[in-house]
């Protein structure tokens, strides 16, 4: 472990937090605008595949902390004890967001038509966005 590793890890961790915050914003916008997105210029297959890949990507980052292509030293620095604890808290936030949004979508579906696909998409987008925002915030403390 060298001083340059410490500096580099700090820069990478800050960049990761910033990218997560931006990704959360994108997911939030997508959750709001994405409902009934038949007007999108993408074909349904491409649209659904893009969404699925993006969600899987962020789930992997939330589960592992990312940095899979970095060296062992840097990876262990950006995913050290504090980052691990922050990730655990972020996942808790994501869980509670999923439960609350699920509840809201359930009751909203009593008054308006929400397809299963739309409902699942709203719950997934908002809960991952909540986890990413919490993680980004904790990492920049």
């Amino acid at each position: 472990m060298t001083a340059s590793d410490i500096d580099k890890a700090e820069r990478i961790a800050r960049a990761r937090a910033l990218i997560m915050a931006i990704a959360a914003l994108v997911l939030l916008i997508q959750a709001v605008l994405g409902v009934g997105d038949e007007a999108s210029s993408m074909t349904p297959v491409l649209r659904n595949a893009t969404w699925g890949v993006m969600i899987l990507f962020w789930l992997i980052i939330l589960a592992t902390g990312g940095g899979l292509r970095l060296g062992r030293n840097l990876r262990s620095l950006i995913n050290d004890e504090v980052s691990f604890a922050n990730r655990s808290l972020a996942l808790q936030t994501g869980f509670w967001a999923a439960m609350l949004v699920g509840l809201i979508v359930y009751f909203a579906s009593l008054y308006t038509t929400i397809s299963v696909r739309e409902g699942l998409r709203i719950v997934t987008d908002l809960s991952i966005a909540a986890a990413l925002i919490r993680y980004a915030w904790l990492e920049t403390r």
């Binding site: 060298t2 410490i6 604890a85 990492e139």
Partner: protein, 70 residues
């Protein structure tokens, strides 16, 4: 039951002439970890507390305590 873990990490680190990055390098963690432990934001694991103790050459109970300094 104590609800806080107090530490003298900042005082001992500066006494040893170490920067946060320097201590982080010795322990093998990020500078953020040292910073959050120093500020009481993060309570370190036993493993990290022992590594800090070894790096600073002080007994762990001298660095961490259940009561604030007198």
């Amino acid at each position: 039951m104590a609800e806080r873990l107090y530490n003298r990490l900042l005082a001992i680190r500066t006494e040893r002439g170490l920067t946060q990055a320097g201590l982080a390098e010795l322990v093998g963690v990020s500078r953020k970890t040292i910073n959050t432990v120093e500020n009481g934001i993060f309570i370190p694991s036993t493993l990290l507390a022992l590594k800090l103790s070894r790096a600073l050459g002080r007994p762990v109970e001298e660095i961490f305590s259940l009561e604030p300094d007198e």
